[in-house]
């Protein structure tokens, strides 16, 4: 597998350095330990938002640091959660005194490392609330697994909770908004090909040319079912069915439809999926009020996509529309 890198060991450091140079007007990079903060952090009186996780999901999370979204992002090694010695200083750096919300994707490693960092931050007098994102309906039996994973919905939680913090909501209110988004969003993904972690040097799983994996996460781990390749409309139906069933989407619902690329699928194909998804939602009586289409939470160069549906209410819509200015998401300012 060819990769545009210098050394597998320096992938994250060099990528974050480049990111900092490209977006020096918006973010500040701390190189050791690695974390990224909003240029004007800490913002006086504002609740700080910190997220993080393994690298390889770009633009998540550092791409969402900026006004109206995250105050800090903490990148781990590729597909490996960051460590408390990164998360703690990032948390302290963005605390204005109003407290900090950790947005954590539900993976064993992320949960354990953020939990430790939150305890240490509390010991230093910083109030921390944690919003756990677990929107992945592919995990059917959460009793006998580590639970549903945090996937596409994470981007929506970060945007909407970020807007709540920006308008001046308090610590508990920001966390409650994040939890409300998580409670109202469901996601399902598909892989057409695997991805290759730089230090591993070969694909994370083996998939034949005529096979696809349904129900993948974002770490190159295999999914729940392997089936023969189908056309875009059929795959879209297959992804949306469990999403709509689990979210109990009914006639009259207003939703945000998010079709996310996994890193190796062209935008043109994502729009083909989006087109079909709108039809399926219309058949269910739901109206697509807002949309997001593109590569926003990826798994390196994996081919495939995920579809997220977020049930909107007036306040969530307003917070979604609120101005945001980050390297990867910008509107209204």
């Amino acid at each position: 597998m060819k990769k545009l890198i210098n050394d597998p060991k320096s992938v994250v450091a060099e990528s974050v350095q480049g990111f900092g140079l490209a977006h020096a007007d918006l973010v500040t990079i701390n190189e050791d330990p690695i974390y990224v903060t909003r240029k004007d952090a800490p913002v006086a009186g504002k609740v700080g938002l910190v997220s993080g996780g393994g690298s390889g999901h770009e633009p998540l999370h550092a791409g969402y640091v900026g006004r109206g979204m995250l105050d800090a992002a903490v990148p781990g090694a590729v597909f490996t959660s960051p460590t408390p010695d990164q998360i703690l200083p990032a948390t302290l750096a963005v605390n204005s005194g109003a407290g900090v919300v950790h947005i954590v994707k539900n993976y064993t490693g992320d949960v354990l490392n953020f939990e430790t960092a939150a305890e240490l931050a509390e010991a230093e007098g910083v109030s921390v609330r944690t919003v756990l994102v677990n929107d992945d309906v592919a995990v059917e039996d959460s009793l006998y697994t580590a639970g549903r994973r945090g996937v596409g919905g994470t981007v929506l939680v970060e945007k909407i909770a970020g807007a709540a913090a920006e308008r001046g909501d308090g610590l508990d209110a920001v966390a409650a908004i994040g939890e409300r988004v998580n409670a109202n969003v469901r996601t399902m993904g598909v892989a057409l090909s695997a991805c290759t972690v730089p230090h591993a040097g070969q694909p994370s799983f083996d998939l034949a040319d005529d096979e696809i994996e349904i129900g993948i996460g974002i770490h190159g781990e295999p999914g729940r079912h392997r089936i023969p390749m189908e056309n875009a409309d059929n795959i879209t139906n297959r992804l949306l069915e469990p999403v709509l069933a689990d979210l109990k989407v009914s006639s009259g619902d207003k939703v945000l439809l998010f079709v996310n690329g996994m890193g190796g699928t062209p935008l043109s194909e994502l729009y083909i999926v989006y087109r079909r998804a709108v039809q399926v939602l219309a058949d269910a009586g739901a109206t697509v009020e807002r949309s997001l289409v593109g590569n926003y939470i990826t798994a390196l160069e994996m081919q495939g996509c995920s579809i997220s549906v977020l049930r909107l209410d007036e306040e969530l819509t307003e917070l979604w529309d609120a101005p945001v200015h980050t390297p990867a998401l910008r509107w209204g300012m």
Partner: protein, 210 residues
């Protein structure tokens, strides 16, 4: 043979050597049922432990294990960082500041480590995790230390062999915790990488005493 600070330093050095030697094997095991990072993370973590040992020499086995705990927690990441960090920290606490470890103390340290892993990771025996290596190791160490045995090498060997058998026992299991649990039935037929790295650590303890 006495299990003192020198032994502990040699043990940790051999752990680093074992993780470097088995890096690719652990990545491969993790590639099958996880996300291909376990070998890389364990190698990076124990290389950092080696670097720390080069900076200062711990005075007791407990001090060596505590330093290891803090280093793994800050360098490994993923689930393995907090889990091994907690294991080494609980073992260090169990050993206190005693200068030497006798068989009963080793069994108690392993039990504390295992309890720490269970407390953090919430996994039970049979869930296809490192607990399936640690639990038989604790049982075997306790049995070997029973009745006030003074055979320190014997208790180290018993724990290492039981951990290795425990790692093999994960092959047919269906994962219920950690990244592999998302595979459901498809996780059967693969060995758990965390159980394998746990067995490597306990085998290195034997090597340091030989």
């Amino acid at each position: 043979m006495v299990l003192d600070a020198n032994w502990a330093v040699k043990w940790l050095t051999l752990c680093a050597q074992a993780m470097a030697e088995h890096r690719v094997e652990l990545i491969e095991l993790d590639r099958a049922i996880g996300d291909s990072d376990h070998g890389e993370n364990m190698d990076r973590g124990f290389q950092a432990v080696l670097a720390k040992l080069g900076e200062s020499t711990p005075e007791t086995p407990g001090a060596a294990l505590k330093m290891t705990a803090m280093t793994l927690m800050s360098k490994v990441g993923g689930a393995a960082g907090p889990l091994y960090g907690t294991a080494f920290l609980r073992a260090a606490t169990a050993l206190g500041d005693s200068a030497e470890i006798d068989p009963a103390a080793w069994a108690a340290a392993l039990a504390a480590a295992r309890d720490g892993i269970v407390a953090r990771g919430k996994a039970e025996p049979g869930d296809k995790t490192m607990v399936d290596a640690w639990t038989p190791a604790v049982d075997a160490a306790r049995a070997a230390a029973d009745g006030g045995s003074t055979d320190v090498l014997g208790v180290l060997v018993a724990a290492a062999e039981a951990a290795e058998a425990g790692a093999v026992s994960t092959d047919p299991m269906v994962a219920r915790k950690g990244r592999a649990s998302y595979l459901g039935e498809r996780s059967a037929g693969h060995r758990d990488p965390g159980a394998v790295s746990s067995a490597l650590i306990l085998r290195a303890a034997v090597g340091a005493a030989a």
